[in-house]
Symmetry: C2
Subunit: 398 residues, 2 copies
């Protein structure tokens, strides 16, 4: 196979591009692939054979014969390899084993303390990963990549956390480099809200091009999908809603000199502090949720006000980005409809009518699994991209 | 040529895709195009011949011979046709004639009153367009499309303005349908700030993926380029900064009940009103600019405060989208550095450090021509897209 130079404008329809056609799961013959791509039959044959040899395609029976030997079909083989998907939180870490279609085979969750630092923590998670890879579910398939979500800002291009407030010892830590000492595969790292947005989008809103996912739990952050793509911005810090300054807040006089970060007003931590100041026993977000669920009037009122405060910032987001869907997730969003009600109250009143007339504001539907699913999607997309496939086939080991 | 079905995943490398390779201006042989695309030589030949017959490619000499007849080269022919680009403002309209590479051949600007309504106004502009097409500069080349920027929100998919505040009679008016009665070609309509963003991006920052263009003149709006794409949002209203609510404003007590739209605080119209209230003779934005340029202390202070108010909203934009570049344009931005200074003062203080450390906030460099250039780029991209090229070649007239 000639290694033709790649033009910058359109993709060279190499093996990687042929493979993209088959990712929809439909089995096709070489003749069908030649018709779909316009490639010469001989070119298709060479590339399909390479993909079969690499295990990325599998034989999928025969098409109806039109006389003579019936043509063989090939199809995407999601079991060509595995990915590990990690959802790392402040107090827990889940690592899941998934196939290349994102189907989960097995997972393990452990209690952690993010303050233990990256080496201790990643070592423990990677041991769990090794156990998963040794389990019967893995069936001895090769690991092709690892996706990791962490609870703080990340420079996505390098996989290094950047000044993460609740992750002492992680600032500028080379997560991919450390992980690759154990597993020599591509490692992608992103903040937890971005992977939640990917997971929620894939699960509940796959056809929506413009979606904003907001997580309200210990902190507050957003994952922005615009024009069908997750937007990370120039340094990977896009979606930082928590540090947007808003006037006033619960119990403040709300004059302009009293502006605070949204997170200091409306996060689970802020709600717990506000409730403690009123004499409640609320050490953290979990206690706020318990109080809300038990019907405590002060906790419900504070949560609704937090929704209004989040809504103030989202009203601006709606004018700027005109999304179709805003999804509220995170533990505080899950504690009933109070946060949602507060957000709706403000956004529908304050954003421009053109942007709100078809806007839905909803609770997260993907639930707890959205984060690991998003991490699996992030890394599977990378591993199965045309460029990655072409690199894999060109490598001596392929 | 077999009209193969198009897969949804990768592009069918038809004539339209071959054409994209040549848009970089480099002349290539059929053999080089076959190597670049992986297409069979016979397929490339049929498609290149169709593009030559349609005039989209032109013969471009011969490559060095390796023995025998030297192979012929072909290249993109920007003079395969023309586009008309319209920049419609409240008081003026410019229509420019451009080739398919966006080079201007001729243009005409007329004084208008947007209040005259769409039919009167578009008729006058289209007469100017017909004059341009009849001029020697047009050389009798065919018109392939028209791009129009208007001073108000537009549903881009239909080309209809949507509740445009300063465009009486234009609400839901079918601009493409009306224009096509005179010129039966594709007509794309967008708001003026989006086409300014496209023009500024193409002229000054072609390699930047994340750019926010802010226009401060009679009103205030933004054009958002994220992930390399202009983001219009679900209904085409993305970038509406003018109706973001901000606390206080010039001379207000700035308590929370005194929130106003950014446009009501910091636009050219708002500045004129504030200066009139102080006894100045400032009927509109033009007078504000004259006062600023003459060194009037009150006008300068008001413009700087307007910059701070715009900066309050941009601080949120920076946290949300993490752009590399913010470009300030519009007449108030051009009246010296005062608006820019106010914006910088607030954004660098209030946005998160990760998002501001490499952020540049600059004046528009593309100047007056950015709008028509952006309109020409918008329509040329559409006319030269793979799908449009393939449609053109399949049409009976091609």
């Amino acid at each position: 196979m000639v290694d033709a130079p790649r033009p910058s404008a359109p993709p060279n329809p190499g093996a990687g591009e042929i493979f993209q056609i088959l990712r929809d799961g439909t089995a096709r013959t070489k003749a069908e692939l030649a018709a779909l791509t316009g490639l010469a039959r001989s070119t298709v044959s060479v590339r399909v054979d390479a993909l079969l040899a690499a295990g990325l395609l599998r034989p999928a029976g025969e098409a109806a014969s039109t006389g003579g030997r019936p043509p063989a079909r090939v199809a995407f083989n999601p079991r060509a390899g595995l990915v590990l998907a990690v959802d790392l939180g402040a107090t827990h870490a889940t690592i899941a084993l998934a196939d290349l279609a994102g189907a989960f085979l097995d997972s393990h969750t452990r209690t952690v303390d993010i303050g233990d630092g990256p080496e201790t923590l990643l070592d423990a998670i990677l041991r769990d990963g090794a156990t998963l890879l040794d389990s019967p579910a893995a069936a001895g398939l090769p690991l092709l990549g690892i996706g990791i979500g962490v609870p703080g800002p990340v420079e996505h291009s390098s996989g290094r956390p950047t000044n993460p407030p609740i992750m002492p010892g992680w600032d500028r830590f080379d997560v991919p480099g450390f992980v690759q000492r154990t597993f020599d595969v591509p490692v992608l790292v992103d903040n937890d809200v971005n992977i939640l947005a990917l997971g929620e989008h894939a699960t509940a809103w796959p056809d929506v091009d413009d979606l904003v996912f907001v997580k309200v739990s210990t902190g507050i952050g957003a994952g922005i999908i615009a024009g069908g793509q997750l937007q990370r911005g120039a340094q990977g810090s896009a979606g930082d809603m928590g540090h947007v300054q808003v006037p006033g807040g619960v119990g403040s006089t709300r004059d302009a000199d009293d502006e605070r970060d949204l997170e200091a007003l409306a996060s689970g931590s802020a709600l717990a502090a506000a409730l403690r100041a009123q004499g409640h026993d609320a050490r953290g977000p979990a206690d706020v949720i318990d109080l809300v669920r038990s019907g405590d009037a002060a906790a419900i009122a504070a949560t609704r006000q937090a929704g209004r405060d989040v809504g103030e910032v989202l009203a601006t987001v709606v004018n700027l980005l005109n999304p179709s869907i805003i999804v509220l997730g995170g533990s505080i969003a899950r504690a009933g409809e109070h946060l949602l009600a507060g957000v709706r109250e403000v956004v529908y009143r304050r954003s421009i009518p053109l942007a709100t007339q078809h806007l839905a504001i909803v609770q997260s539907q993907a639930g707890d699994r959205a984060a690991v699913l998003g991490a699996a999607i992030m890394v599977a997309r990378d591993v199965l991209s045309p460029a990655s496939i072409d690199r894999r086939l060109a490598a001596p080991s392929a």
